[in-house]
């Protein structure tokens, strides 16, 4: 039963931590970094109350290692960081992708590169979230745009991580991390996905033999199943192989395992796209500015729409195609030099796509997006 609590003010980072605990997260390995530190602060306070474990590790490399280890140990686990720490976590994130270890990594984006702009927002880690670790690998990236949605998508991050045995990155910007919004959230949205542990005869268990859904069952330590975990490419028995036929089959399953589930993974919001001449693509805090800009453009008689990916990777290609089918121009607004724009250009063709970028540590304001919409509408000859 969902008891609705009265409206209260909740910070984005705090919403993330509380949702993680609701989702059943019982291990946090982290190293605090602005602008994500409130997540660690909240987890340190709250996890012991639910018999969970909080460990502040010596650095981000170790914290990601601890998260992977805790998850192999049978516990839902997460970490949170920002750009510099996200860079350090990449090696062990890749290990989680290869060994199919469920885990949630939060990256509250600040200006980069390097230590960059510690307290200012950016959206510069869009490609790093997809391709930051070496080698072809599956990963899911979610990008909420409000405090309420941080709560919902954090819960969903754990669902997806456990169900598909994949690292899930929750990616949002400094503004949303520190934003306090009035929310009327359910006190507890109910139980989250439980991990599907191996059952059946122990002597027949193969740790990486996929089930009907393409996902292998994990062995719970202590249940008596023999397992082996490695970052080396491994066969269904968990042990390394370099035999081309086996490597080909193993990689095909690993890289394709999300494909059959994209309807469940992909999520996007379309606003006024039906008859739109100009569609803005935006996510995170930029989507909030774009929503206002689209409404104001409509009020001025410009047929504008908003396509807002909530699942950033894998990108919601079919929803995007449907939303932009009638659009003459597409404007990709983002706080980077043009990262998601590359994907949009790939899908829609470069001639239809314009870019609106900001890199000075300030968010894009509604007026800037509105001006870009008006320019694009002018280019379509509509105005």
């Amino acid at each position: 039963m969902n008891a609705v609590v009265r409206p209260r003010n909740l910070q984005g980072n705090r919403a993330c931590a509380l949702a993680a605990i609701e989702a059943g997260c019982r291990f946090y390995g982290g190293y605090p970094i602005t602008p994500s530190s409130e997540i660690a602060e909240c987890m340190a306070a709250e996890l012991p109350r639910v018999d969970g474990v909080f460990v502040q590790m010596e650095d981000e490399i170790a914290s990601m290692g601890a998260v992977v280890g805790a998850s192999i140990g049978g516990v839902k686990a997460m970490t949170a960081t920002s750009g510099p720490g996200f860079s350090l976590k990449q090696e062990n994130l890749g290990y989680a992708a290869a060994a199919e270890v469920p885990c949630v990594i939060v990256n509250v984006m600040r200006g980069g590169p390097s230590t960059g702009l510690p307290t200012r927002p950016a959206q510069g880690d869009v490609m790093q979230a997809r391709w930051g670790t070496h080698g072809d690998h599956p990963v899911i990236v979610l990008t909420p745009a409000s405090v309420m949605e941080i709560h919902a998508e954090t819960r969903r991050a754990f669902e997806l991580a456990e169900r598909y045995r994949v690292p899930v990155v929750l990616l949002y910007d400094e503004v949303l991390g520190h934003l306090v919004e009035t929310v009327a959230a359910p006190a507890d949205a109910g139980a989250s996905a439980t991990r599907r542990f191996a059952s059946g005869p122990a002597d027949a268990y193969q740790p990486y033999r996929p089930g009907a859904d393409g996902i292998p069952d994990m062995a719970r330590p202590g249940d008596g199943y023999r397992t082996h975990t490695t970052g080396l490419i491994h066969d269904e028995d968990g042990f390394p192989t370099q035999a081309p036929a086996r490597v080909g089959a193993v990689m095909a399953r690993l890289l394709g395992k999300l494909d059959a589930h994209r309807d469940a993974i992909e999520r996007a919001e379309c606003v006024d796209c039906g008859d739109a001449e100009v569609v803005v693509v935006a996510y995170g805090i930029t989507a909030r500015a774009a929503a206002r800009a689209v409404a104001e453009a409509r009020a001025r008689g410009i047929r504008a729409g908003l396509f807002r990916p909530i699942t950033l990777w894998p990108f919601a290609e079919r929803a995007f195609a449907a939303a932009t089918r009638g659009a003459r121009r597409i404007v990709v607004a983002e706080l980077n030099a043009g990262q998601l724009a590359l994907e949009i250009e790939r899908l829609a063709g470069r001639e239809r796509v314009g870019r609106l970028n900001r890199l000075d540590g300030e968010p894009l304001a509604p007026a800037a997006v509105l001006a870009a919409i008006a320019d694009a509408a002018g280019a379509t000859g509509e105005r």
Binding site: N9, P118, T119, V175, L179, V180, E181, R288, E296, A367
Partner: protein, 184 residues
């Protein structure tokens, strides 16, 4: 929702002056009064010094765009935090400044009240409650949200050992503007 359907407030100063806390308390008071709030903050990567501000967007329904675009009220505790505020002030906006720490307040656009906020806090025993003095003055002048809601937010959300001092500072701020208004 357009800008005109919201009330937008900025509390600005330097790191350590307690603008983040003041913003949170004001946001809590607004919610208690039945409004929806978005409160954002901007600060420098230093725990003391550097500009620091807390912005509020207050609406009767939901807040669509959560960052300020046109200010109805500005509390300014340090000249260094003026930044882009002058360009954001609406015609007739309420501006409350610390008279000693803001030698060059924003000109013309608003209703300016240069007040001895930090001096009054010092008289109360601790210059660090200048944020509460300023908040009391701002809410006293704006007449909104209800002063009692702000008092309640201070009571419930500040540590016990500072509660009485914070409340005294808040009320001292209101008293400053009661005087200011009668003198005007």
């Amino acid at each position: 929702m357009s800008d005109t359907a919201t009330r937008q407030i900025r509390l600005a100063g330097t790191g350590g002056q307690g603008l983040g806390l003041a913003g949170r308390l004001l946001a809590d008071a607004c919610v208690a009064a039945g409004h929806a709030v978005a409160q954002s903050q901007t600060y420098e990567p230093t725990s003391r010094g550097g500009s620091s501000r807390s912005d509020l967007v207050v609406a009767d329904g939901t807040v669509d765009y959560p960052l300020v675009t046109a200010l109805d009220a500005l509390l300014l505790l340090d000249q260094a935090a003026l930044e882009d505020a002058p360009a954001l002030l609406r015609e007739g906006a309420l501006v409350v400044t610390d008279a000693a720490l803001v030698p060059h307040p924003p000109a013309a656009q608003g209703e300016l009240h240069a007040l001895p906020l930090t001096a009054r806090a010092r008289e109360l025993g601790n210059p660090r409650v200048a944020n509460m003095v300023g908040l009391g003055a701002l809410v006293g002048l704006a007449g909104w949200p209800a002063f009692e809601q702000v008092e309640r937010a201070v009571e419930t959300s500040t540590p016990a050992r500072f509660r009485e001092l914070n409340l005294a500072a808040l009320r001292a701020g209101r008293a400053l503007v009661a005087t200011d208004a009668s003198a005007a």
